[in-house]
């Protein structure tokens, strides 16, 4: 299987007044084409930070210290390192090649714009050339077809529009066009771009199974239910058919029936759009439902990666075992994991899980265990094996 994303040695630190927080230590991760990779772990273990690092959105005072994130944009070109390309380069990738669905859909939508405006914005930002092409076709059709009186009146305007849209197709970000699109009245000549973006928006909203997408484009976020909002957010993420979708706990704030619908939707879209998904969750049940492979994180590093069936049938890392035991079952007392999550300011030396591990050895206190492949596709970072 082809690799889509390869993270090597990713280390993120936060320089706070209290000291250096070692948020991520040496994260190694591969994500293949057309697969769903699940990232599970407790709150604060670095799942979301891993996702934000991929988009280079770590908020200050956080810094990506070292590592590389190689991303295969398409099959013809060499993979690029997302951590070293320019600010403009990463901005062009965000939203068009890699996009993200946030945990709280009601917070991820801007309250002062309609859903249609917000989704069109993404399309206008990244698919200008395509919009120009569609607009040009519309103008050409008008020029060719409309007969008689109206056509003689409007013809000069249409000809001007055609010139502009040809420009848009040739050089969508040229200085000249930027100036034109700022001038009052003149920018009205470019209205067809918005119109076409609106049409694409409606079709994308239809893709995410929203009834009556036409009406939804005119609604504000607060007029929607949680499930609808999350669909709109997913539509926004999918608006430019990205190759890689990061879903950061997209169903956590939804109730169970909606959750099932959203999971089904993501599964269907993944197959249809041939993209990969990085699915972040703390719910092992959801991960089992949707993922092909799962990585378990603890205190800023990965401790086990395996195919989903492997992981649940045969967990190897003591932390994974404890996590699976802690899943609540009907009629049983829940098992909690003894001890608490280590202080990220002063993480324990050696394996970070050793203070809570029942089978910790002398070696665990001194050295950090490395990832090793025990069975094909099953990686564990533990000295027990």
């Amino acid at each position: 299987m082809d690799e889509l994303l390869r993270i090597r040695g990713l280390t993120v630190r936060f320089y706070t007044y209290d000291g250096v927080v070692q948020a991520l230590e040496n994260v190694d991760l591969d994500i293949n084409q057309k697969e769903t990779f699940g990232l599970v772990g407790e709150t604060g273990c670095g799942k979301t930070l891993t996702a934000l690092s991929i988009l280079r959105l770590i908020p200050p005072p956080g810094r990506i210290e070292c590592g590389s994130i190689c991303f295969n944009i398409d099959d013809e070109n060499e993979p690029v390192d997302l951590l070293t390309i320019s600010e403009d380069g990463i901005r062009a990738i965000r939203g068009s090649k890699i996009s993200m669905v946030f945990q709280e859909p009601s917070a991820a939508l801007n309250p002062v714009y309609t859903i249609g405006d917000q989704i069109s914005e993404v399309i206008l930002l990244h698919r200008r050339q395509e919009l120009g092409q569609r607009a040009l076709e519309a103008v050409n059709a008008l020029l060719a077809e409309t007969p008689g009186f109206i056509s003689t009146l409007a013809r000069p305007i249409w000809l001007m529009e055609r010139k502009l849209y040809q420009q848009v197709i040739q050089a969508p970000s040229s200085l000249w066009l930027t100036i034109i699109s700022r001038i009052f009245l003149v920018k009205r000549l470019l209205w067809r771009l918005k119109d076409e973006a609106q049409k694409i928006t409606i079709s994308v909203l239809g893709e995410v199974e929203i009834p009556d997408p036409q009406r939804l484009t005119r609604q504000y976020p607060h007029q929607l239910s949680g499930g609808m909002e999350q669909r709109a957010v997913i539509a926004m993420a999918l608006a430019c058919s990205p190759k890689f979708l990061i879903a950061d706990e997209p169903t956590t704030s939804l109730d169970v029936t909606i959750q099932a619908q959203i999971l089904e939707l993501l599964n269907r879209l993944k197959v249809e759009w041939e993209s990969s998904i990085l699915y972040i969750t703390h719910d092992l049940g959801v991960a089992a439902e949707i993922c092909d492979r799962v990585g378990v994180m603890y205190a800023g590093s990965l401790c086990e990666i395996a195919k989903v069936d492997d992981l649940y049938a045969n967990p190897l890392h003591p932390y994974t075992k404890a996590l699976l035991a802690a899943v609540p079952k009907l009629g049983e007392e829940p098992h909690s994991i003894g001890g608490s999550v280590p202080d990220p300011l002063e993480p324990p030396p050696g394996c970070r899980f050793h203070p809570r591990c029942s089978s910790a050895m002398e070696k665990c206190r001194e050295q950090v265990p490395l990832m090793r492949e025990l069975a094909p596709g099953h990686f564990v970072a533990c000295y027990m094996y």
Partner: protein
């Protein structure tokens, strides 16, 4: 269309805001129609210069020719207050306009980027805010030489720090919202994020304060004029009209209200102007803020 209906609905719900809108509208009409309400006499060079009827220091009561009477130095009160409306709008709108531009620019830079830039801009606002505003405005006007333009510059320099801080504070809260992160996540540039996602969500308190402040600015300008630091003598300006009447607040013994028109008429104009803008500010709050009660 539905927006407009919603606005009208909001305005009807709060009759005081309608009063505010009406008062400000009346003043706008007065300012626009000034040349017709109080036509400058033949051969008058500067229309803002109040025509005078002789040089006698004693005010004359309202008459056929001078509807509101004349004040000290025989300046026509009617002409003064009508053309003074234009000066009031000029001062209020110019000062608030400039303050908004400076405040939005510096406030969003400080709030959005944070760090050292924020620190520098905020310390400069601290320096300005360390002085009592009216005293600082007086000092600046004196330094620039008394005139209406100096008053405008002085009041701008005194008020921008408050606006910068207000906008910065609102931007700081909105900056952390998820939708800003989401906008960054779809590849928007800094400028686009500030202009399209942060400002529309954080500008309302500032706009409301601006409309409340137009009245306050006119009041401060009147205070400066009253102290003799504003417009040159004879210039149509409400503050100056009140200055003229300073010696005539109380009339001669036995008839204390003899010169009531010299104080009361310009005073009423200032009062209603400030009241109108204050009520309008409240109306703006009800109408503009989409987060308020739009269900």
């Amino acid at each position: 269309m539905t927006e407009l209906r919603f606005w009208l609905y909001q305005a009807r719900k709060n009759p005081l805001s309608l009063v505010g809108i009406a008062i400000v509208l009346i003043f706008v009409i007065i300012a626009i129609l000034a040349p017709f309400l109080a036509p400058p006499p033949e051969g008058h060079i500067d229309a803002y210069q109040i025509p005078r009827d002789g040089y006698s220091p004693t005010p004359k009561p309202p008459s056929q020719e001078y509807k509101f009477g004349t004040t000290q130095g025989q300046y026509d009160i009617f002409y003064g207050v009508i053309w003074g409306t234009r000066s009031a709008f000029k001062v209020g709108l110019l000062v608030i306009g400039m303050v908004l531009v400076i405040g939005i620019l510096l406030g969003s830079i400080a709030g959005y980027f944070g760090g050292l830039v924020d620190e520098i801009i905020m310390r400069i606002t601290d320096i300005f805010m360390a002085f009592p505003p009216l005293i600082l405005a007086m000092a600046i006007t004196v330094a620039l030489g008394p005139s209406l333009n100096s008053v405008i510059i002085a009041l701008t320099l005194v008020s921008w720090p408050i606006y910068t801080r207000l906008i910065r504070g609102d931007i700081l809260t909105v900056r952390e919202e998820d939708y800003v992160e989401a906008a960054r996540g779809v590849g928007s540039s800094h400028l686009r994020i500030i202009a399209r996602h942060i400002l529309p969500n954080s500008i309302y308190p500032t706009l409301i304060m601006a409309s409340l402040d137009i009245g306050a600015v006119v009041l401060s300008a009147a205070a400066l004029s009253f102290l003799g630091l504003g417009a040159p003598e004879g210039y149509a300006d409400w503050g100056q009209m009140i200055q003229f009447s300073r010696n005539w607040i109380v009339g001669p013994p036995g008839n204390p209200l003899a010169y009531w028109y010299t104080v009361t008429i310009p005073g009423l104009f200032i009062l209603f102007f400030v009241l109108g803008w204050n009520l309008l500010g409240d109306a703006f709050r009800d109408i503009l803020d989409p987060r308020l009660a739009k269900r």
